[in-house]
């Protein structure tokens, strides 16, 4: 598996760190215990296409949002995560 970083080009997997599923959204400060539990512990654990965050620590150190198939390891898109992150934080 190799990842085509939008800033650095095609790089080997060892340069990247996986953060996890991009879908869960951090609950607001006043969220219920159930919402926090759900966010921290429960996972969809999708078999197939899923989007996730990766960190290019061995390269440009950018956070990336990658669409990948967990059954085949095929990567269909790699985008900078900045916009996505800002949107999530409500900025």
């Amino acid at each position: 598996m190799r990842i085509v970083c939008p800033f650095c080009g095609e790089r080997e997997l060892g340069e990247f760190t996986y953060l996890g599923d991009a879908k869960p959204v951090r609950p607001a400060a006043g969220a219920s215990q159930d919402e926090v539990f759900d966010y921290v512990y429960l996972r969809d654990n999708v078999a197939g296409g899923t989007s996730e965050y990766w960190y290019h620590g061995g390269g440009c150190r950018a956070w990336l949002k990658i669409t990948r198939n967990t059954l085949t390891h095929e990567i269909s898109s790699v985008d900078p995560a900045a916009g996505v992150g800002a949107a999530k934080a409500g900025a």
């Binding site: 996986y18 996972r43 967990t70």
Partner: protein, 417 residues
């Protein structure tokens, strides 16, 4: 059939052409008291204990592939009970005791070999942690010996003792630990369970659950038709989330790939199982002579049953740091198995919120050694509707209650516990 020295001699005299099938290849009936989804070691062990220990024989084990095609056939075969946390200590020792009588119980040679498991330590802090774990084990009646450097040198003179970064200082040894033949374990359980009337149904993939008006699970939809069930037990390793999703459940589990490796065969070298405490590398030598070893998970969600090169490189580096001479040994083959990584690195054996559906999941790196214990306590849960006392802490709601069991601080994401 019953195996003995006489059956072996008889078969030998007739050119080994008279061996019979060791288990019946059953076709599904309309209904069973208990249906186990997953024909791996844990599922088959559960069926065997349901029949032999709890007298429930109208049982089916459904396997989507064939017996031994999943993680049962792609693991590093280690058995041990060197755990230090409440919940784990008792459970893994229960499992170890079942390993010790497995061949007699099943009338099957599972090649249980108590050749010893040693965890090497490389720092004072690590020695203290292992001393503490060893003491915990001994307090609980489990064997453990803390070895100093001289004792390790005597046992394994081939290690690189001059490693400047990770000098070997000693190790924690459990002599009763060792290895067993992974394929034979599933074949043995299949053999013994089938003889007691359990139907083992291969090439039978579960595609959904049958629910009654109250939501209770009353059966499963499969590629070989609908099968009714009094209770359904899930023991599907890396596919737990997928199967649970069919019942509308989300689990605190991620699926990750864990690779295992085997080298070409060499002369007897490694006396038992050895772990490199400074990195994550563990190795034993099979009876055929191959070095069997592994390390970390690949680190990202996967259902692909194949790994990637960075971890292979990392594992081989770990091995080379400990035993530089294995650099001349060729790697023969490699597998990727799909693990349920639970969020605290420990298993989940419990009823689910769905009536009639029971869960045995989240074995992370270590499902093989747990095989007999897992089957025993899961059969207890299915038969009695209450957890076995040695599995009482493996509840599904422990994450919500904050009662995690993080033995090594490894789960899918260690920062979460």
């Amino acid at each position: 059939m019953k195996y003995s020295i006489f059956s072996l001699a008889r078969a030998a005299l007739s050119g080994h052409k008279t061996w019979q099938r060791t288990w019946r290849d059953a076709s599904p009936k309309d209904r069973y008291d208990v249906v186990i989804v997953g024909g791996g070691g844990h599922g088959l062990a559960t069926a065997w204990f349901l029949a032999s220990e709890y007298g429930i024989r109208n049982v089916a084990v459904l396997e989507k592939g064939w017996i031994g095609s999943g993680n049962a056939g792609r693991n590093t075969t280690i058995i041990r009970s060197n755990y230090g946390l409440p919940g784990n200590t008792g459970f893994y020792e229960l499992s170890m005791k079942l390993w010790e009588r497995m061949e007699q119980d099943l009338n099957y040679n599972t090649m249980v070999s108590q050749r010893g498991v040693i965890n090497l330590y490389h720092s004072d802090a690590q020695r203290d942690a292992y001393a503490r774990r060893g003491n915990t084990m001994r307090i609980n009646g489990i064997d453990a010996e803390l070895l100093d450097l001289a004792a390790v040198r005597k046992m394994m003179p081939f290690l690189n003792f001059d490693n400047a970064r990770f000098p070997v200082q000693g190790g924690l040894l459990q002599r009763r630990g060792g290895t067993a033949r992974h394929d034979a374990v599933v074949w043995g359980y299949a053999h013994a369970a089938s003889a007691l009337g359990v139907d083992i149904i291969q090439n039978c993939e579960v595609s959904g659950f049958v629910r009654d008006a109250n939501g209770k699970v009353t059966g499963v939809e499969t590629s070989r038709g609908t099968i009714g069930a009094g209770k359904v037990g899930m023991a599907v390793a890396g596919s737990s989330s997928r199967v649970a999703a069919m019942a509308g459940l989300r689990l605190p589990i991620e699926s990750h790939v864990l690779q295992a490796f085997v080298s070409e065969a060499i002369k007897p070298l490694i006396p038992g199982v050895m772990t490199f405490g400074a990195g994550h590398f563990y190795v034993s030598q099979s009876d055929k002579g191959g070095l069997v070893f592994g390390g970390d998970i690949d680190g990202y969600n996967s259902y692909a049953q194949r790994g990637n090169l960075p971890v292979m490189e990392d594992v081989c580096e770990g091995g080379m740091a400990l035993m530089p001479m294995i650099g001349r040994v060729r790697l023969l083959r490699q597998w990727g198995g799909i693990m349920d990584m639970s969020m605290d690195g420990s298993p989940i054996i419990d009823k689910t919120p769905v009536d009639g559906l029971y869960l045995n999941a989240g074995w992370c790196y270590g499902g093989f050694k747990a095989t007999p214990g897992s089957g025993f306590v899961f059969a207890h849960l299915l038969a009695r509707d209450e957890p076995h006392k040695e599995a009482a802490r493996f509840r599904l709601d422990r994450f919500r209650r904050g009662a995690m069991i993080d033995e090594k601080g490894v789960g899918a994401q260690p920062n979460l516990h």
